[in-house]
């Protein structure tokens, strides 16, 4: 079972906070990997918010291929961020870790946001396609104001490896996952958080309905619905499909993955549409023990459970900073000075949301009208 540490704050903060929180939850992850996604960046990225950032890893040969492909696609390199790698026992370094900031191709500069997003995703997928067979390129995200770091190893050691304690890398929303490798091979594309066109999520648990969900998503013919090296990647794609593609309000994500019973639907004002959605999106109903923590392009962070709440999760904090964690000890580490009595342990019907700025926590229930 993986461990999850998400923090959303009004002020910028370091990913070390997430990693130290993960460290307190160490009993639950075996150091088989770390995934970090940072959104709303500070420092050297402060003035580059409109430009997409390509995050990934590549070999020496991969770097060449990458440059060629990006050139050919018309992207212009604006800025490069490279972590200061420190050799740490137990972590095998790869050739290049990078976050490269690009300017859009000239022909795309006046295109709509949706068209730009599609271009970015397709470019990332092309890089993945070229680089995956020989593992020469790993492209995790390509989106404005978002950086993703992933590597195999213990989170704390990886923080040292990436020099996160040294550099000025801060953000307002940071998701971190300490991977407990279970039934899938240790593979970077299987590492959470998963990201697609501004939507991101990480999960701990096991998704027993994985195959029908994967088949449904892949049959939507949306090019980004590929991969699935982890059964948890579908949670991100369901989020993307529900909110971006179908344009449903975020709370319907909960109604899609854990639909209400017929009798419960009757109490809802939107019962008629809910019934239709339940039928039409039946293959996206999740199963098995899961807590999902995610964010949207606008920066709303949320937490939801499977329909039986077989995995716990907790949300707590202070005005201006909230953490969404898989374990309370992680929350204690991240935001110790808070009123613990106000911690929220979402129940099976709940969707807990924190809007950008982390002013307050909203609890939305499927049963409320």
């Amino acid at each position: 079972m993986c461990r999850l540490a998400a923090i959303t704050s009004k002020e910028y903060f370091s990913p070390l906070e997430n990693i130290l929180a993960l460290e307190t939850m160490k009993e639950g992850h075996d150091g088989s990997g770390l995934g970090l996604t940072l959104k709303d960046l500070d420092g050297e990225f402060q003035d580059l918010k409109g430009y997409p950032i390509l995050s990934g890893i590549c070999s020496k040969n991969g770097a060449k291929t990458l440059d060629e492909l990006m050139d050919k696609a018309g992207f212009k390199l604006v800025h490069v961020w490279i972590p200061k790698i420190k050799h740490v026992k137990g972590v095998i370094p790869r050739d290049h870790y990078f976050a490269r900031v690009y300017d859009y191709p000239r022909s795309y500069r006046d295109k709509s946001k949706r068209e730009k997003e599609d271009l970015l995703m397709n470019t990332r997928l092309s890089l993945r396609k070229i680089g995956e067979p020989d593992e020469s390129i790993f492209a995790f995200s390509f989106y404005p104001d978002v950086i993703t770091l992933k590597e195999v190893g213990d989170p704390l050691q990886l923080a040292e490896f990436f020099g996160l304690d040294q550099v000025d890398l801060r953000a307002r929303i940071i998701f971190a996952q300490g991977r407990q490798n279970t039934n899938y091979a240790i593979y970077l594309y299987a590492c959470h958080p998963f990201f697609i066109q501004g939507y991101c999520s990480m999960t701990n648990g096991e998704n027993t309905a994985f195959v029908p969900i994967r088949e449904f998503l892949m049959s939507r013919k949306f090019p980004g619905y590929i991969g699935y090296n982890s059964d948890s990647e579908v949670f991100t794609h369901i989020l993307h499909y529900t909110v971006r593609q179908l344009e449903l309000p975020l709370t319907y994500y909960k109604d899609v993955i854990t639909p209400l019973k017929e009798s419960e639907i009757e109490s809802r004002e939107d019962r008629e549409s809910l019934k239709l959605l339940k039928q039409s999106l039946r293959p996206l109903c999740i199963d098995g023990p899961n807590v999902v923590i995610g964010f949207t392009p606008e920066g709303t962070c949320f937490m939801v459970h499977d329909s039986k709440k077989l995995r716990p999760g907790v949300v707590g904090g202070v005005k201006g900073k909230f953490a969404l964690m898989s374990e309370e000890c992680g929350l204690d580490n991240a935001i110790p000075k808070r009123d613990k009595s106000k911690d929220i342990f979402p129940m099976k019907y709940d969707m807990v949301m924190v809007q950008p700025g982390a002013e307050e926590v909203q609890v939305w229930s499927q049963l409320q009208n």
């Binding site: 279970t182 039934n183 648990g205 449904f216 179908l246 239709l276 293959p283 098995g288 039986k308």
Partner: protein, 553 residues
């Protein structure tokens, strides 16, 4: 000179040619005559024989011959009266003196064509081997990484949807104050959808079944819905519906079948103004797994007064449904029109779907239906499906196994992204060996939305003798010894409709629990695991490749 053929009985059959040989124990028999009276085919009769007995008394052997008149039970070595192995004689015998025994060396089919007539029977394919469905195992067991669910404690939703489901992109929804509401002004047709238990009772008609059998099933279905809360639906088969049921509120638990003979439909259509509920669905039968390409047949001897009135025909005439719908010219227009006409009859409030026999061409039908927005589902009846009457050659040799047929259809829908839009109903050979829940779950994981089961229901609820060793299988003759498929009151009074209903309830309650016992360890509870093929394995490489599931041994 007298021909030798008559002297040595050369043209007569020996008992060894027959499928069942009667084992009669003279020492136990009290000659009550119940067995001969009850035998549905008169395969046994009492006979008087002269017995030569040699005996000796005293210390010195003094063999003495006497002749005694004895009464025996004799089996007739005649293909017209062959023992079907039903065992009704055993049931009525007070002393366990008689029972039929299967004869694996029989040459039954060599001779069962007297008069140039092919052998006709009821039942299903006489193949007692283990079917593909019974070879599938559920191997994805939730263990320490994702603890299994508790079938007894957790909440399970063992339900499925019957009806055309709109793709999410086409839902007529609009956003009002952050909530989604149905846009009634869009004019978009929202097809009717029923939430049902995923095991349906397959089409068995009034007429094929006796009144107490049909009534028992109907009562059981109503009880399951109203008392047990299990939304089990039953298909009527072709042959109409008892008039009282048509006008009752229980009609909603029944799927009305229309087949090529349209029997009973005059009465159904005339009853529409008086209907207080819509039926669960309409099934248009284009084919049947047991006898692909054949029409239905209700033999004249089963067309008694009640049946004649329900079907709107004279008594004692053969009721043959043509092999195909006479109006059917092509799937593109005639089938579409029929689906549309039936939909229109109930104001587009009732799902209408076709049923075909398993075939290599099922995908062609499927793809056509996938493009028809009014087609509510596709039911595919595999080669192991049952029937009340068919040629043996059709039963044994015609048709397509259901497992790969349903799988390829499902995967075809997946390729088109329509796997949730057009539900597939799988039938034919489910619970052949009694594994109702396991077979149903396996088909669901291969891609079926629901399964339909008939033969097993007769066996489990009314003790039908029929099996895959050609036992009994007299359904076509009207001489069903259990009173299940007969219209003869002397026979059907043996059957208690209350007991049938009770058994039906037990069968479905058990299936419901067993489905949970399958889904729970696989970590599935919130939705039916349709297409969860990673849950299945098989110990045969070729089957695993064909079904695109894993191989495990």
């Amino acid at each position: 000179m007298e021909p030798a053929t008559e002297l040595d009985h050369n043209h007569q059959l020996s008992l060894r040619e027959l499928p069942y040989i009667i084992r009669w124990r003279e020492d136990r028999c009290k000659r009550c005559g119940r067995c001969t009276a009850v035998c549905p085919v008169k395969a046994i009769e009492s006979a008087v024989k002269v017995q030569r007995i040699v005996y000796s008394e005293g210390f010195v052997p003094t063999p003495t011959v006497t002749r005694k008149i004895v009464h025996v039970i004799e089996q007739i070595a005649d293909m017209g009266r062959y023992c079907t192995g039903c065992g009704t004689c055993t049931l009525v015998c007070p002393n366990e003196a008689i029972e039929p025994e299967f004869n694996p060396h029989n040459k039954f089919l060599h001779f069962k064509n007297r008069g140039g007539e092919g052998y006709k029977r009821g039942g299903r394919r006489n193949d007692p081997s283990i079917s593909t469905l019974d070879r599938l195992k559920f191997t994805r067991i939730s263990m320490l990484t994702d603890p299994a669910l508790d079938a007894g404690r957790h909440e399970f939703r063992v339900r499925t949807l019957l009806g055309r489901i709109l793709p999410p992109e086409e839902l007529p929804l609009k956003r009002i104050n952050g909530k989604l509401m149905v846009d009634k002004e869009s004019g978009k047709f929202i097809p009717p959808v029923r939430e049902i238990f995923p095991i349906m009772i397959g089409s068995m008609s009034v007429g094929a079944l006796s009144p107490p059998m049909w009534e028992g099933l109907a009562m059981g279905v109503a009880y399951l819905n109203e008392v047990e809360g299990l939304p089990v639906v039953m298909c009527t088969g072709e042959g109409g519906v008892p008039p009282r049921l048509l006008k009752s509120r229980y009609l909603k638990y029944f799927i009305l079948q229309i087949a090529s003979g349209y029997f009973g439909w005059d009465e159904i259509v005339h009853a529409i103004p008086e209907m207080v509920e819509d039926p669960a669905a309409i099934e248009i039968k284009y084919g049947q797994g047991a006898k692909p390409g054949d029409g239905g047949l209700l033999m004249a001897q089963k067309v008694l007064k009640l049946i004649a009135s329900i079907r709107g025909v004279p008594q004692f005439v053969d009721l043959a449904s043509p092999p195909t719908h006479q109006t059917k010219y092509s799937i593109e227009e005639a089938v579409a029109k029929m689906i549309q006409s039936m939909s229109m009859t109930w104001g587009f409030r009732v799902p209408v779907y076709p049923k075909i026999s398993g075939t290599k061409t099922a995908r062609a039908v499927l793809n056509n239906l996938a493009r028809n927005p009014y087609a509510a589902a596709l039911s595919i009846d595999g080669e192991d499906g049952g029937t009340g009457a068919a040629y043996n050659v059709s039963l044994d040799k015609m048709g397509h196994p259901i497992a790969s047929n349903i799988r390829e259809c499902y995967l075809d829908l997946v390729r088109q992204g329509k796997q949730n839009e057009l539900p597939l109903i799988a039938a034919g050979g489910i619970a052949k060996k009694g594994n109702l829940a396991a077979n149903a779950a396996a088909l669901i994981m291969l891609g079926a939305s629901a399964v339909s089961v008939g033969k097993y229901i007769m066996q489990a609820t009314a003790n039908c003798f029929g099996d895959e060793y050609n036992r009994c299988n007299l359904c076509n003759t009207g001489k069903c010894p259990r009173g299940i498929t007969t219209q003869d009151p002397k026979l059907y009074r043996r059957l208690d409709s209350d007991k049938v209903a009770e058994r039906l309830v037990e069968v479905f309650k058990t299936a419901n629990v067993e489905l949970k016992k399958i889904f729970a360890p696989m970590g599935r509870s919130t939705e039916l695991p349709i297409g969860m093929s990673d849950g299945l394995s098989v110990d045969d490489k070729a089957i695993s490749e064909r079904l695109e599931i894993s191989y495990a041994c």
